[in-house]
Amino acid sequence: MLEWIARGLRKGVVTSRYPRGAEPELDGFHGRVEIVETDGARDELEALCPTGAISVSGGLVSLDRGRCILCGACVEAEPERFRFSPAYETASRRRAGVVVGASVERQLEAVRLPLGEQARPLRRSIHIRHVDAGSDGAEEWEISALTNPYYDMQRLGLYFTLSPRHADVLLVTGGVTRSMEKPLERAYEVMPEPKAVVAAGTDACSGGFAATTGEIAGGVDRVLPVDVYVPGSPPSPIALLHGLLLAAGVVTEDGR
């Protein structure tokens, strides 16, 4: 056991300073797609995207990151218009908040207060229950990475819990398959108030590639009220951390 302790100490501190300091962005990382040029778009642009994330209206283009699976087809075809960016603060408390580009109709969405504003002590101690409702398995890796020494989410008062009865946040991956609909609803029902639901990943936001197969509901918000949408295929651990802190009310969207 002493050998293990010595081994652990030798490495020193590797932990991210986020959110107190910015996480260094990795050049060339496919964190999300940015629109460089909104104007002068042809209608055919929409066909570039296999999941229907690109819309063109009156020559103006918009991108729904909640549908974007980061395949890069648009970046390859139209490098002057789209590019990958390593940015990670992509999550939003509204579904329309993950849509970027030209004048999206900003409907008023009913938004619950962040947990930290509903109950002050929750800012410092949030218990998270993860439910896989039909992911591709990559999201689970990125979520479990949050406990490794690089991200060490316990330092921010975020903990995973095994029972939904002890959970403040339901962290859901996948577009909700038929078999997972009932278990997911039940997990949500037994959570104590106040509670929040975080849709982790593009599949959880919209169903992604599987949205049209008829085997999934097409996003967590078809089954449960969602508080935070975290796009990405899969979202990186730091993007997930941002989403969780948004649900907790530790960071705000406009505070970027």
């Binding site: 296999p50 278990p183 992604g208």
Partner: protein, 499 residues
């Protein structure tokens, strides 16, 4: 262990001798035999008796609507193809004689409405109900524990129904398909390059393996060979993926044993691997690299930098592994847990590290070398004991071999020098082809059909689906507290099995 590769001529001679007149076509290591539907089961048994391993059974549309049973046979894929008439609704079940075919035939029944006559447990598979629990062992003091589909921890959805008297696992049923997303059907109508994107999302933790198996199937259907450099880069990405997967298993096992420093150490090694993959191609899962015809990405990291990283990584890994394998509170939980024997693994058609841990030296990279593997040297790592410890030993051995393979691939890339072309244009073409890789979980096989430059049909044979029944079979005298050790030692992915 160094092995002699089976002669493919030998396989073809055998098949020609036994199935006179049936031999249809034999391109690139695949032999197709055309048979009447009623003879499919007898032919399958004959092949299995000769040592063929069942891969899958599925409906193909090219060259005509047929039922296809695929086997791994003496360094080839042997496919039995039985044309289906319009009104064909049933056929003699393969699983009567080949237990390895049970799940595949249940799936086939759900998908295509074809009834395998005589199937021993023909119940619907694809959309399981979490509440439909059946108690098989009835007694005053036995009860049923459903583990899942919401698991205790950050794990994928699957349901293990355990029957216990308190401590012993008396009976276990593993129920996959909670994550069935209908992705095979989603391929229809996509362009081949989009198909690779979808393949990556069938099992995210084996994205590179899925994209490669899919792409190789397209390349086989179109009879093209991607450039040498592309094949080498595919190897680099595939072996990095294997590192990450095997480290994930080590981390989870250390977590089961509550060794918090070991969890942190192996978590760091895994995260380092994910980060170097991101530096290499922009994606932590190697996504967007492998496309039909070659590779798509521009390399972001200099091969020399990757080589330096490999050195630092191995330096850390060797010390952590040595310490982990010396920690008796860890090894005690693995030795003897979830033990499988060779006969069970062969009967159920097991693949990957699970099969290699009982001494079966099966590895698609070696049996039917694809891409650059024919020109690279590596050992197929095996162990004898068949328990959780043996499976971890195999994984650690494979990490060593993967590092060796990556270094060889980088050497060759350096020798070739400046990049010429990493991606071929796809010619127009029709037809179907098999593609296969050794994914971290085991052999992964794709069948892809193309028509008019688009995908018509895809079938995926996932290593996880083959190995779940082995997980069930491995519980012999094990107790509830061994459960997570045994499960994690298998290193399977529900997404890959469920599709």
């Amino acid at each position: 262990m160094r092995l002699e590769r089976a002669s493919t001529d030998h396989a073809q001679r055998f098949l020609e001798g036994r199935f006179r007149g049936a031999l249809e076509h034999a391109p690139d290591g695949t032999t197709v035999l055309r048979l009447p539907l009623g003879a499919l089961d007898r032919a399958a048994v004959l092949l299995a008796d000769e040592g063929a391993r069942f891969i899958s059974v599925f409906v193909a549309a090219a060259p005509e609507r047929s039922l296809v049973a695929a086997f791994a046979f003496r360094g080839q894929i042997a496919a039995l193809r039985a044309p289906l008439t319009e009104d064909a609704a049933a056929y003699p079940a393969l699983s009567l004689h080949l237990p390895a075919a049970r799940l595949a035939e249940r799936e086939l029944h759900d998908r295509e409405g074809l009834t395998p006559l005589g199937h021993p447990e023909l119940t619907p598979a694809l959309r399981p109900d979490a509440d439909a629990l059946e108690q098989r062992i009835v007694g005053d003091e036995t009860f049923v524990i459903p583990y899942g589909p919401i698991r205790s921890g950050i794990f994928e959805a699957i349901q293990h129904v355990v029957e216990t008297g308190g401590e012993d696992v008396l009976a276990l049923e593993t129920r996959p398909y909670f994550k069935h997303r209908g992705l095979e059907a989603r391929f229809g109508g996509l362009e081949p390059v989009q198909g690779a994107v979808l393949a990556e999302r069938i099992a995210g933790i084996a994205s590179v393996a899925h994209a490669a198996a899919f792409s190789q199937a397209v390349e086989a259907a179109l009879r093209i060979d991607p450039p040498e450099q592309a094949a080498l880069w595919r190897t680099v990405h595939a072996e990095l993926e294997r590192l990450a997967n095997h480290l994930d298993v080590a981390t989870k096992l250390a977590e089961d044993a509550a060794l918090s420093v070991a969890v942190a150490r192996f978590g760091i090694l895994k995260e380092d691997t994910m980060r170097v993959r991101a530096r290499l191609c922009g994606s932590r899962f190697g996504r967007g690299v492998v496309v039909p015809g070659g590779i798509a990405t521009t390399q972001l990291l200099d091969p020399a930098e990757l080589r330096d990283w490999l050195g630092r990584f191995e330096h850390d890994l060797v010390r952590d592994r040595r310490l982990l394998l010396r920690t008796s509170s860890f090894t005690d939980r693995l030795i003897g847990s979830g033990r499988l024997d060779r006969t069970t693994v062969e009967t159920l058609g097991g693949v990957g590290p699970v099969a290699r841990a009982v001494g079966i030296s099966t590895d698609a990279r070696f049996e039917r070398p694809y891409g650059a593997y024919e020109r690279l040297g590596f050992d197929v790592v095996t162990a004898e004991n068949g328990d959780a410890m043996a499976r971890l030993d195999v994984r650690f051995g494979e990490i060593r071999e993967s590092l060796h393979l990556i270094r060889q691939a980088l050497d060759r890339l350096q020798r070739i020098g400046e990049t010429t072309r990493l991606r071929m244009d796809l010619p127009a073409g029709e037809g179907g082809g098999f593609g296969w890789v050794e994914a971290p979980q085991g052999e992964l096989v794709y069948w892809v059909e193309l028509a008019d430059g688009r995908i018509r049909r895809v079938h995926v044979s996932s290593p996880s689906l083959h190995n779940w029944p082995l997980f069930v079979a491995s519980f012999r005298g094990d107790v509830l507290t061994d459960f997570s050790f045994i499960e994690h030692s298998f290193g399977l992915t529900a997404a890959g099995a469920d599709r």
